[in-house]
Symmetry: C5
Subunit: 86 residues, 5 copies
């Protein structure tokens, strides 16, 4: 998974029917190329500025109730930024 | 998913039979390396210049009716570019 | 999918039995890091210098008759390089 | 798989129910962009500073007992850093 | 698939039970970022210095007899480095 920070919501009115009901959030990676923002689905209720754990690829399907064309999904909200060695 | 802008159509006459019927669009990523354009299938009717949401990998299969060798598919058209903090 | 140009054939005599019968082609990406060449399976008959459409990952399995350990496969030959705005 | 070094634990109280029970560890890649840290699940008991082998993508599911939205998982602890030619 | 050169073996005593029996090899990519070495499973018997064809992702499962958490696997040994135009 990657660690990311929620930057904003993404609104799409014309979308696939099986995407309806998921909040879509723009995520800035904490590590690596921070300019490479991605869009992840959310059902936990992550808020702007929160640090989240995002899983990608087909493993997203184990985070949702019905199959959907979503390749990134928030699976957890991180309590505090990790501290090296702890 | 990634956010991208539709740049042009991609025409392929000699292609796999199970690709027939899908519009293929060249997509420029909004974030990250914008030179790394990809080709995505489309069934929503995205137009040149529109900002779209693209899912990748095997999750594309949940956006189409029958299985096909397509690793990127447009799943939504974004209403407006996301604004940080909103 | 990515757009790529066929550069050469890749010959492997000692290989997995379920790879036998597929032509293996070295592909140079048209966009992004053009030094990051990949090897894709081919059953359409793409020739050296042709621009092709390559799907990756497990979606390759929908381009072949029997399952095989191939993570990139040519799914179409592009008629002409895409022109922005068309 | 990639080789990585365990840097710290990642704590997430609000997370998907099927993530409960897995230790989440922050991993620094040994090769490539070492700033691109990822979070991997662990059930072997890897410790801070140990060099581990991480598998990604849906192949993680073969390392766990029940399906879960985890795209990186520790599958081995490396005895010693690999030495070229051996 | 990617082309890579076998650099060394990777030894892991504490590992997932379903990884036992596969040789693990450190692979240097021939193209792209050659510093981004990966670890691939091998059952063909590739030797140090040989150029190999590596498949990634879940497609590795079609190269092995039983499912295992391995996201890169050697599927062929290349006869000779590819020559452009041939």
């Amino acid at each position: 998974m990657i660690l990311g920070t929620v930057k904003s919501t993404v609104v799409s009115t014309r979308k696939m029917p099986n995407l309806v009901g998921y909040k879509l959030l723009l995520i800035e990676p904490v590590y690596g190329n921070i300019n490479q923002l991605i869009v992840a689905g959310d059902s936990i209720g992550a808020g702007i500025g929160e640090m989240v754990l995002v899983t990608t690829d087909t493993t997203t399907q184990y985070a949702i109730d019905r199959q959907a064309p979503i390749d990134a999904f928030i699976v957890g909200i991180v309590d505090a930024p990790p501290v090296e060695g702890k």
